[in-house]
Amino acid sequence: MPIAVVLILLVIGTLVFHFVAPLAGWTFTELASDWGQIDDTINITFWVTGFVFVAVNLFMAYAVVKYRAREGNKATYDPENKKLETWLTILTSVGVAAMLTPGLFVWGDFVNVPDDAIEIEAVGQQWHWTYRLPGEDGEFGDVKAELIDNDNPFGMDPEDPLGRDDVLIENGEVHVPINVPVKVNLRSKDVLHDFAVAQMRVKMDLVPGMETYLWFTPTKLGTYEVLCEELCGIAHHTMRGSIVVDEQADFDAWVASNPTYADSQNIAAGNAQVGAAQYAVCAACHGQQGEGMQALNAPKIAGQEAWYLRRQLNSFKSGHRGTHEDDVFGRQMAPMAGTLASDAAVENVIAHIQTFPDNPAPVTIDGDVVSGQRIYNVCAYCHGPDARGIQAINAPRMAGMTDWYLATQLKNFRAGVRGGHPQDFYGKQMGFMGRNLQDDKQVQDVIAYINTL
């Protein structure tokens, strides 16, 4: 008896949950593309399956009540009923066809990309999104996996003229124009990934060695999160990007503001001598030889790799870093970075910093090295077992750098003081990882271990 009551309650409860869940936001996100057909197919399926769910379970509950064992009862002997079984087969087939048919039509639409679609390319790697746009000629240049290295992260073929005007976006954010069909070509540099935007309803895997695609027409302005939804290694959950739906004019302006492949080839190498003059401002805090000064909260920068210095300087300049109100020292650095007005100035200073002798910073933090080593297992996936950093994974060097600064930054990452800016995808990643350290002791332990490297 209780089981029958519970079955009825569960059916009712499920229905109530289904209709109440949207109020709490536990349902599909608001659609931002014209894939309303997908939502329609889902709704048809909801009605058909919902009916079967309610009917079968209520019937069962009724049977359990009506035919529960009682003294003197005897079951009816009833081996089969061809007519009933035939009818049930027909009805089920009709229900299945009602769900399948629209599904197949919509899939047909998804497979065939409209001719007027613009193309963008999303490139996945462990654990970051980059993008490429075809540029003015509307065609992508050739890429080859074997050409990919730190200087050519997209694997562009320098011989292919079509690639000269390709727009390369290394930040995890891409823009698309509203009300224009967008075909997203998908390419992976290493393992499987999956390009998914909940509000657009579509997703597709990225497979190394081949190109895949999906398409949608954005219909709503806004910024939407791009998630990797195919397990791609230990930092899978940190592989985030975003897609911004713009008015056409804003989109055009955004495209123009990004460098083309040709531009990126033409950047002059930094001049260390020119940079020396500009470094004078930096020297006040970071020291003449970039050795860092704890009293002024300025970390060691000597020995840090150029790509990381460049990215951080640009982050400070663009406000991705040093804008959080609790980031006291970052806020001091931001205007200093601002004094390096041009890209050339940044390159010059970096070139100068590269000339400094790389002496290990003094050890100031003590901790349990054994515990630290255990924790560092996870860090090693990106920063390398020797903590020298891996540029391809966007992970900087930590060994031999100022340890008190690592501690401050880890605390900042954990508190969201650093890595909280929506466009700081690298910082966001480290935030995820940093928050897994439960307390200050763990921070100290892991830094103590890094100090031994």
Partner: protein, 587 residues
């Protein structure tokens, strides 16, 4: 085709009557002992799988609050949890456990046809479990590639356990497949060759039908896993590039070229989808027998049930790519596989109708096994219906790789088969031990498990609708996920922990009742099928004493009009049926 009863060959059967403890309980060739060895091992490793799930559920419900769980072991736990539950628990328990116990007993044979190979099977299985567990203790730990073990990430740096963990995992799978093949040859041959006199195929209980068909599926599908495991081992250890394309690892180009990750997925799911039915078909069979016995009514539409099992088995080989709609395979495959996938819903739905119609006009005794069986119908209906979302290629676009998938397959091939496992264990416990389980503890176990799992998985579907991806160590702050969804995740974790703790009641009940349970007698459920008609309970070595049983009817003669009792065992000839006053109420 001529038939020869095995009764005429009975004198040919060798009897190794075991006399020492070791030959009786360790190197035993008795199918019943082997069944229990399989069952206990599977449940033990299943408990490990459950503990792993509790650990990673803690992280999902309460992110970053527990020191012992970091991204590395999170992915390892998720991977090994899935592997254990699907293969080492469910496949082993249904086929190695119930298959071994029930096939000879329900078919009236003395043992499996190859007892020695049967013994080897369980010990090779134990070896595979040992290798799996050992993978946690090698440098780098167990693999964290997800239970699907997709290359390239399964064997390239950036994933936990790519040094030794993945090698041991693949090795363990290969060993498991050897164990399964030895067992499977036995089950199929026993069903075909060792049925007692009168036991035609269409008189077999549905339990045997389900196990028989599942074994055939396993024998044909596990080779796909073996082939992909061998090829991946080559890629990992010998540097071939079957599955490894040209790619960059930590900034450095590998020397692999041209390999096809999608090829692995095809092979994997060619095994992986039939695997779902390898677990589901035995559950279908067992639950049919539970429902029929406790409702005191014949199973409704027996023939349709058999044909549905055959049809599902056949169709299960042409639906595999519905796991790959968004894998980057040729998108035109989507049309074909969506159609076959939804067609398979028809025989499956018919089975559900027939279970419910078996209850209709029955005389339902709500004992613990029956409660589990009824709950199975509920959860299986739920899980089956959500399959219609994912199988329909269009709807898979938003839902693939989200919590919806996790919720769906846990409902349909996690909770549902496990409910059947419990129901079946309670049902056959008196036969295996000669004692009854404790009914009160059984009911507690039932209610907490059933309601706990539903409260865990129902909300999970809705997080899937929202777009929350599976296999995420942490969601962090996202613009599309409301804070209340985080709370929902916490509540799901609490459910999971309650379910996990509840299983202690079950284990306690099983152990306590061994000594203190009431004596059950040979046929406590007044059941018709052969295993309840053995001369001894628990059945002795050889099962049937001096002479094999003879079967005169199907296994579902419950409440036949005009008969005194409400059940007529299969062994009773037509002339000996006690006739009594028919006192049905509805007829």
């Amino acid at each position: 085709m001529a038939y020869v009863s095995i009764a005429d060959r009975d004198h040919e059967v060798e009897h190794h009557d075991p006399d020492t403890f070791i030959s009786k309980y360790v190197w035993s060739q008795d199918h019943k002992v082997i069944a229990i060895q399989y069952g206990v091992l599977a449940i033990l490793i299943g408990l490990v799988g459950m503990l792993l799930s509790s650990a990673f559920r803690l992280q999902l419900g309460f992110p970053d609050m527990f020191e012992f769980i970091n991204p590395e072991n999170y992915y390892q736990f998720v991977t090994i949890h899935g592997m254990i539950m699907v293969i080492y628990l469910l496949t082993a328990l249904f086929l190695g456990g119930f298959g071994n116990y029930l096939i000879p007993l329900q078919l009236g044979s003395r043992d499996m046809v190859f007892p020695f190979m049967n013994m080897l099977s369980v010990w090779v299985y134990a070896l595979s479990v040992l290798i799996l567990v050992a993978s946690f203790f090698v440098p780098g730990g167990a693999t964290g590639a997800g239970w699907t073990l997709y290359p390239p990430h399964a064997i390239s740096p950036g994933t936990p356990g790519t040094d030794w963990g993945i090698v041991l995992m693949l090795l363990s799978l290969a060993v498991f497949i050897v164990a399964f093949t030895m067992g499977g040859l036995n089950y199929v041959t026993t069903v075909l060759q060792a049925r007692c006199k009168g036991m035609t195929l269409m008189r077999m209980p549905l339990s045997v039908w389900g196990i028989f068909m599942a074994t055939i599926l396993g024998l044909l599908a596990f080779p796909a896993l073996l082939v992909s495991a061998i090829m991946m081992l080559f890629d990992k250890l010998l540097g071939t590039s079957f599955f490894m394309p040209a790619m960059i690892q930590a900034g450095v180009a590998t020397d692999t070229v041209g390999g096809s990750p999608v090829l692995f997925q095809h092979l994997f799911w060619f095994f992986g989808h039939p695997e779902v039915y390898i677990v589901a078909l035995p559950a279908f069979g067992l639950v049919s027998d539970l429902l029929s016995t406790h409702a005191r009514k014949n199973i409704f539409g027996y023939r349709m049930m058999v044909w549905a099992i055959i049809a599902i088995g056949g169709l299960s080989f042409i639906v595999w790519a519905h796991h790959m709609y968004v894998s980057g395979m040729n998108p035109y495959f989507g049309f074909f596989f969506a159609t076959t996938t939804l067609i398979i819903a028809v025989p499956t739905a018919l089975k559900v109708y027939n279970w419910v119609l078996t209850l209709w006009q029955g005389n339902i005794h709500l004992r613990v096994p029956m409660l589990f069986a009824i709950a199975f119908i509920f959860t299986f209906t739920h899980g089956g219906l959500t399959g219609l979302f994912l199988g329909n290629v269009t709807i898979d676009l938003p839902l693939s790789d989200t919590y919806f998938v996790v919720a769906h397959f846990h409902m349909v091939m996690g909770v549902s088969p496990v409910l059947v496992v419990f129901g079946a264990i309670y049902h056959w416990y008196p036969k295996m031990t000669g004692r009854m389980y404790n009914e009160t503890l059984g009911k507690w176990h039932f209610w907490l498990t059933f309601l706990g799992t539903y409260s865990l998985y129902l909300p999970m579907h809705y997080l899937g609708f929202l777009g929350v991806p599976r296999r995420y160590f942490a969601m962090g702050n996202t613009e599309f996920m409301p804070d209340s969804a985080v709370t929902l995740n916490a509540s799901m974790t609490i459910s999971a922990l309650i379910i996990a703790a509840t299983q202690l009641i079950f284990i306690y009940n099983m152990i306590w009742s061994l000594k203190h349970g009431e004596k059950s007698g040979g046929n406590p459920w007044k059941s018709t099928s052969l295993e309840w008609q053995t001369p001894d309970t628990p059945p002795k070595h050889g099962n049937w004493g001096h002479s094999l049983p003879e079967v005169h009817r199907w296994a579902y003669d419950y409440s036949v009009p005009g008969q005194a009792e409400d059940f007529t065992p299969q062994t009773v000839p037509e002339s000996e049926v006690p006739v009594g006053r028919d006192h049905g109420v509805d007829s």
